[in-house]
């Protein structure tokens, strides 16, 4: 009776068939009776105030039930504090339909409610709004002089300001033989998940609501709704069993949730609000950024000085901050450092975490600067990284819980064929194409949040695991099923992971590449408690052969508990439940990071990306012909879903380097390419060979499972590796993203 360990197996997504056959339901797809459809009217100016609002024509249309504006908005919480969600940055949360002020282009100014979607959409065009406009600023680059310190708040804990300077940067930079001074500019990007933001609110009566929402955090949104609308927590249930991508945009409750709930409570009806793609542009986004890096090295190629100054955009009402400036010091030792991070308030909506927030921005600049410095010093870019390799965290002096970055460099370089590279830019040619090889390093934090899970043994001897966590398309359902199966020695067929429901035990929002560690550890803890409970229950059976057994004397396999020393003595889970009066045996427990122990360590995942590009010698069109990423992220629970995370991130990296941009017209103060035809992300023709390598990284310190998360680490190194490859092919350093090929003409 031997069960193959599920962890480590490339199990296909358990929900895969539901998704590819269309059976999986998303927030806007729940059929509920007597549904009202809400359509948002948005502001067409960037800053100013509404002077006249006429909803008469819209209301007169047959099928229109109501139009809600700031003039007739139902009662909601007035205290700003009530709007603070778990991921809210310092500042005042934007409250839709609160006053006539327009703070950003595309701000919602009215919600039309009708008996069908088409009527609501049509009527939205009949709402007349007049404005008084004011001057606005939406361009970071024109406002760099207004940069200031970010405000502090709850989220500062996860995103602390840069550390204090060390040594004397200016002098060291002046005195070093090799130096680089470079500026990098990024436009904003939008998450653009495939699934549109949508909420279906079911009005249950008695102040009770069931809400199908597109979110990365069911509990976060449950608390938000209860706080804002004065409902009891237990009366608000938020469900998100399937999420069609989110990438950070679902970390905070978005306004369609607020509007849907407001209308449902006001009209005592079921209400659905779906945003259009265009409406998902005046929306959270990755901020515009400006970075200036000055790095220097001594005659041996050891870094002597690092200055990273980063300025990003935020809104006029919240201070969204990222960790940008100090990443280099987690990778490379340098005796003199100066890290600065500032914000500029612009008349745009608040930015928000987007896959590898801060890190993806910073590492493009850092790793391009490292490449440039390697060339200045006449050292191979990989060799330059190895000469500055840190065995312990240079920024704190603490050891890493594990760090297999060297193995990443070596295996990826070998697989890629880095040694074939002629360092001379433009020296490698293939027909009409200049060939470039580039590489870069990646790093990301290994987070773990506290989480609770409930584990249940049913009368059939099977296990159910309950958690409020979502699966935003990452494979959480599959991976958690694997973890739970192994913990109790069950085949995965006998485990049901039930999730995406705020009624289930607490989970933070799904972000920061933290869920495998967070939910996984909660399962480990709960199953441990469950085993004790099963033994206790087994002992209560008359004449039980387990009555003298301690917790360490029993083992669990294939739905049975048995004595380690005498495996023939066993009892099935079904028998235990039967002896429990048929009542399922269950327990709910919390898993949490071992904060005290881990304070002595730095917890990071690492990666190395190697990229080949072809650049047309005349026309300069760029193709990423192949890429190899090696990732050190602790134990890999599911090599298949993990590979998908990394490969998907690599595609994202290609997108960030060459394609993706939210085109902001600074005269109009709005995004102009608000659709997936013009917001370019790669298509199949842009993607060629992608190879993923996982380093053998055993980590017994970081958590019970030895996992670090793979959601973001595959992205961070890619943009710089591509930019460096473009330099190698052409001799040109393009420091703005995306790299438009015409810049090389």
């Amino acid at each position: 009776m031997k069960i193959q360990s599920a962890v480590g197996q490339p199990v296909s997504r358990l929900e895969g068939k539901l998704k590819v056959t269309g059976a999986a339901k998303y927030a806007a797809e729940y059929d509920v009776p007597d549904l009202l459809y809400g359509y948002v009217v948005h502001a067409t100016i960037t800053k100013g105030r509404i002077t006249r609002l006429d909803t008469g024509a819209a209301k007169a249309l047959q099928g229109v039930v109501d139009v809600i504006t700031h003039e007739n908005r139902p009662e909601v919480a007035s205290a700003d504090l009530k709007y603070i969600d778990m991921d809210a940055p310092p500042g005042l949360v934007f409250k839709p339909l609160t006053d006539p002020e327009v703070r950003y282009n595309g701000q919602p100014v009215a919600l039309v409610l009708a008996e069908d979607f088409e009527t609501a959409r049509y009527a939205s065009g009949l709402v007349e709004v007049e404005y008084e406009t004011q001057a606005f600023e939406t361009c970071l680059d024109h406002n760099l002089d207004n940069a200031r310190e970010p405000g502090k708040g709850f989220s500062t804990m996860l995103k602390p300001p840069p550390p204090k300077p060390t040594g004397n940067f200016e002098q060291a930079f002046r005195d070093s033989p090799f130096k680089v001074d470079a500026e990098f500019r990024h436009g904003s990007e939008h998450h653009n998940p495939m699934e549109l933001f949508a909420t279906t609110t079911v009005y249950e009566g008695d102040g009770k609501l069931t809400i199908y929402d597109k979110t990365q955090g069911t509990v976060n949104n449950q608390l938000f709704v209860a706080n804002v609308f004065g409902l009891r927590y237990e009366d608000v249930r938020v469900l998100a069993p399937f999420v069609g991508g989110a990438f950070g945009s679902g970390l905070r409750p978005q306004y369609q949730l607020y509007l849907s709930v407001m209308a449902a409570l006001h009209l005592k009806r079921n209400v659905r609000v779906v945003l259009s793609r265009k409406q998902m542009f005046p929306f959270p986004h990755r901020p515009q950024s400006y970075q200036r890096l000055r790095f220097a090295a001594d005659a041996n190629g050891s870094l002597t000085a690092m200055n990273h100054r980063a300025i990003s955009e935020t809104s006029q009402f919240e201070d969204y901050a990222e960790v940008v400036a100090e990443w280099s010091h987690k990778l490379y030792p340098s005796p003199n450092t100066l890290f600065e991070y500032k914000l500029v308030s612009l008349d745009l909506y608040t930015p928000m975490d987007m896959r590898a927030p801060g890190g993806a921005t910073a590492l493009h600049a850092i790793e391009c600067t490292m490449d440039e410095l390697a060339y200045e010093a006449g050292i191979d870019p990989l060799e330059f990284r190895l000469r500055n390799y840190a065995e312990t965290d240079p920024s704190t002096g603490k050891p890493f819980t594990s760090k297999a970055l060297r193995e990443c460099y070596m295996r990826a370089a070998e697989q890629f064929g880095w040694k074939e590279r002629n360092p001379e830019p433009g020296s490698m040619v293939r027909g009409n194409k200049l060939v470039g090889y580039g590489m870069a390093t990646g790093i990301w934090d290994a987070y773990q949040f506290p989480a609770r899970t409930e584990v249940i043994i049913t009368g059939e001897g099977k296990m159910i695991v309950n958690s409020a966590v979502t699966d935003i398309g990452t494979g959480t359902l599959t991976v958690m099923t694997q973890v739970a199966a192994d913990e109790l020695g069950l085949p995965i067929e006998d485990v049901t992971f039930s999730y995406g429901d705020s009624k289930k035990p607490f989970s933070m929002f799904q972000g920061g590449s933290a869920m495998t560690a967070s939910t996984g550890v909660a399962i480990v803890v709960a199953v441990k408690a469950l085993k004790k409970k099963l033994l206790k229950k087994a002992k209560s059976i008359a004449g039980s052969p387990f009555d003298r057994a301690g917790n360490d004397d029993v083992a669990f396999k294939y739905g049975h508990m048995f004595l380690r020393k005498q495996p023939s003595v066993s009892v099935s889970f079904a028998e235990i439940v039967a002896a429990n009066g048929g009542k399922p045996v269950k327990t709910t427990n919390m898993g949490a990071p071992h904060v005290l122990k881990l304070r002595k360590y730095t917890k990071s995942s690492h990666s190395a990306a190697f990229v080949e590009v072809e650049v047309d010698k005349d026309l300069k069109t760029i193709t990423v012909t192949r890429a190899v990423s090696a990732v050190a992220a602790g134990r890999i629970v599911n090599p298949k879903t993990a590979r998908s995370q990394i490969a998907g991130s690599m595609v994202w990296g290609i997108s960030k380097a060459l394609h993706e941009e939210s085109i902001l017209d600074e005269n109009l103060g709005k995004y102009m390419n608000a659709n997936l035809g013009e917001y370019h992300i790669p298509v199949h023709a842009d993607i060629n060979e992608l190879e993923v390598i996982f380093a053998d990284e055993r980590d017994d310190l970081i958590n019970e499972l030895g996992v670090k998360g793979v959601g973001e680490i595959g992205l961070v190194a890619m943009p710089a590796a591509i930019a460096n490859a473009v330099f190698h092919a052409t001799g040109r350093r393009i420091r703005e993203l995306p790299i438009h090929f015409d810049k090389l003409l």
Partner: protein, 314 residues
């Protein structure tokens, strides 16, 4: 307003950019859904034949491969399956400002202004633009049709007429809201290709920000008739640079009688781009177009070097 494939009209409708009072579905006109050989040796493409069926039609592939390549460089497989030949000629510009009902646009609301002039004009015109409009016509198919000197057959209240392709689309001038010379009530019934298809030496090259499913920043259709390595006849049309496919007969005349080489194509490119004006973000198109003309000329000498998606030769 007529609807055939609807791949552009429905978008425009949903984006609140047009509000047709009456839409006539013309999909049930089988006589316009076929490709037939003409007595003069040409080929008639029915207006309702899909772009995909046209591109993959054996007679188009063998006699007018330039057209086939150009069609397949556009849109996506799904859109090409729906989109019709007649509709392809009538698609509207993809100018960001035209597509946003909340901002001014002279093409959408005459006299309202053109924010693209001082805005993000990377995708806009370098040739034939006016002070009213700098939008470009987005079709790939039409660039090949211009090079092949197709004729557009139209039927209307007062009977039919045949419109040479070069006359079909117009420049914006001071009425940018009008894309072409069709009169109200007129319907495109077919497109005639003349006998001469340049099937030996042709190439379509499309330069854009991703390798598929993006509109051209610059595209070039080149068709050559060679005798040995001497050019007997030449056609070059540009896409992505003007309010209509851009052809300059003087540039083609430069090539006739010359040896087909980079020097000749470079000389033609200079003539073709005469008068080009670059704006803040699109000035690169002038140099890019010149280089593209040269490369595509060389590719036309070896049509087998053309790659899927009309990418530059390897």
């Amino acid at each position: 307003m007529f609807i055939a494939g609807g791949t552009n009209l429905v978008d425009l409708w949903k984006y609140n950019l047009l509000h047709p009072k009456l839409v006539v579905d013309i999909n049930h006109l089988p006589e316009h859904r076929r490709i037939t050989e003409l007595e003069d040796g040409g080929l008639r493409l029915g207006a309702l034949v899909s772009n995909a069926d046209t591109a993959y039609h054996p007679l188009v592939e063998s006699r007018y491969p330039l057209l086939s390549k150009a069609i397949l460089a556009g849109a996506s497989a799904q859109i090409r399956n729906m989109a019709t030949n007649g509709g392809n000629l009538l698609q509207r510009t993809r100018c960001y400002y035209f597509y946003d009902a909340d901002v001014p646009c002279n093409k959408r609301v005459p006299g309202s202004g053109c924010p693209a002039m001082d805005g993000y004009n990377r995708i806009h015109a370098i040739l034939g633009a006016s002070g009213e409009c700098i939008a470009v016509f987005p079709s790939d198919m039409c660039v090949a049709l211009a090079a092949l000197e197709a004729v557009v057959n139209v039927s209307g209240k007062n009977g039919g007429r045949r419109i040479p392709f070069a006359d079909f689309h117009r420049l914006p001038g001071d009425s940018p809201e009008i894309d072409n010379i069709l009169q109200h009530g007129e319907l495109i019934t077919s497109i005639d290709l003349p006998e001469k298809g340049f099937a030996q030496n042709y190439s379509y090259l499309k330069l854009r920000d991703r390798h598929s499913y993006a509109f051209a920043l610059v595209s070039v259709a080149t068709a050559l008739e060679l005798e040995g390595d001497t050019i007997r006849d030449a056609r070059i049309a540009l896409g992505g640079v003007a309010h209509k496919p851009w052809r300059v007969r003087e540039a083609e005349a430069v090539l006739v009688g010359k040896k087909a080489d980079e020097a000749a194509f470079t000389a033609a490119a200079e003539v073709l781009l005469t008068g080009a004006v670059g704006l803040k973000y699109n000035a690169f198109k002038i140099e890019l177009a010149k280089r593209a003309i040269v490369r595509n000329g060389m590719m036309a000498l070896h049509p087998e070097t053309q790659l899927p998606g009309a990418q530059p030769s390897a």
